[in-house]
Amino acid sequence: MSHAHSIIQIENIHKRFGKVHALRGISTTVQRGQVLVLIGPSGSGKSTLLRCINGLERPDTGRVVVDGIPLDDSSDHINAVRAEVGIVFQQFNLFPHLTVLQNITLAQQIIRQRTPDESKKIARELLAKVGIPEKADAYPAQLSGGQQQRVAIARALAMNPKIMLFDEPTSALDPEMIQEVLETMMLLAKEGMTMVVVSHEMGFARAAANRIVFMDGGAIVEDTSPEQLFTNPREERTKQFLSKILN
């Protein structure tokens, strides 16, 4: 993996929350267009690592560089990185007081300085892409969980991110809605979006990922291809964890 092409560089980061040592020296890189799936038991630090990539968490030590911009004390740097990185949360986090369309146009207008017409046009195109063009004027509370999550994806895409982060995007959904969200993510992966996905949906990992990282206790235990992971995991801990989530 050459450094020149890596869009995310993570160098030996540590993060503590009080006594909890959530990240213990994580180093890795992500290449442009790569789809990386992050798995691991609860509390292993997956969300914390993901949130370090868009500056929602600051590592105590170590460095994170996204598309050549270091995430340091400079708020200009942090905002520049956030403009390049979209994130989708487990709880959707749509803005409940705004319509679906307004959810998608708000940041376009105040951050990207797009006109209302321009931003609405983009929003409608994205709603069509995620399969719910008819919901533009609904409020989030009037949508199903799966629809809300697809709006959240559209909202992030409206900023034209170079990287999309997903933190367990389907684990708050009823089973019958998981597929519609995964299909949307699959579509993005096919289009060549760089993605880091925390998810235990192994079907998605098999179909879309070109890399799987297994974390435990704040460290990376195994970093491999899906084929390798499913057929022949190297570490004992990985095997145990896989047997748990696959059953």
Binding site: Q91, F95, P96, H97, L106, Y139, A141, A152
Partner: protein, 272 residues
Amino acid sequence: MSVPDSAKPPPATNRAGRALPMPEWERVPWWIIILILAGIWAVMIIFTSADYTSIITLLSSGIYLTLYVTFFAYALALVVGLLAGLMRVSRNPVLNTLGTLYVEVIRGIPLLVQILYFFYVIAPALADRTPEPFDQLFRSEVNMGIIALAIGYGAYLAETYRAGIEAIPRGQMEAARSLGMSYVQAMRYVILPQAIRIILPPLGNDFVAMLKDSALLSAISVKELTLWTRQRSANTFRPLEHWTIAAFLYLTMTIGLSLFVRYIERKFAIPK
């Protein structure tokens, strides 16, 4: 001063924790019916008796001033309270400390004492340091009364705003910041619009409470409804008629205001 009573008593529940169905007759808002009947009766007396009609006419400039100071003081308190509330939720230690100091000091002193202190101590000091003719600004009872009420209520409103802001899930701020918004933009476009909807009921209560507390301004000679009533009833030796009418007028204004507040709440509710 009445503390915002956002903490309503919980509804009656059975063992399983479900609300018990209320019997039909208990659901009738009897107090409103009694009040309306009393109101009709009062209006009839007032408009059939020449005495009462003339009293109401005489008190009307007091009503005007009561509404005037209440509206301006409340508008100002909304701004002061918002700024202090934002300071209270700020992670900046200087802002946070200043906000907390303001809220705790004000809430520990009776509103009447605050009004007197402001009018007799702070306002003259400011006036003495202000060149003429602008010093008159600080010598006007009405202006100073409005500012004193606004400062007093600002502390309570600050706590209301803070509670509203803290009630918004953390994910909202995170989602807004992740889209590239600054803290201020996230507050303005995402957090506050939701927080204000939540706190509309306590904000409305405070509006009504302020209308009643504006009577305290009679202590610094603002000729609002209470002072008018006091002077008139002393001059005419007819306390019964005057104070009854004053009470009736306050009640009419507070109920009117409550209805207006409820209308606003419904108008801005988020569709479900």
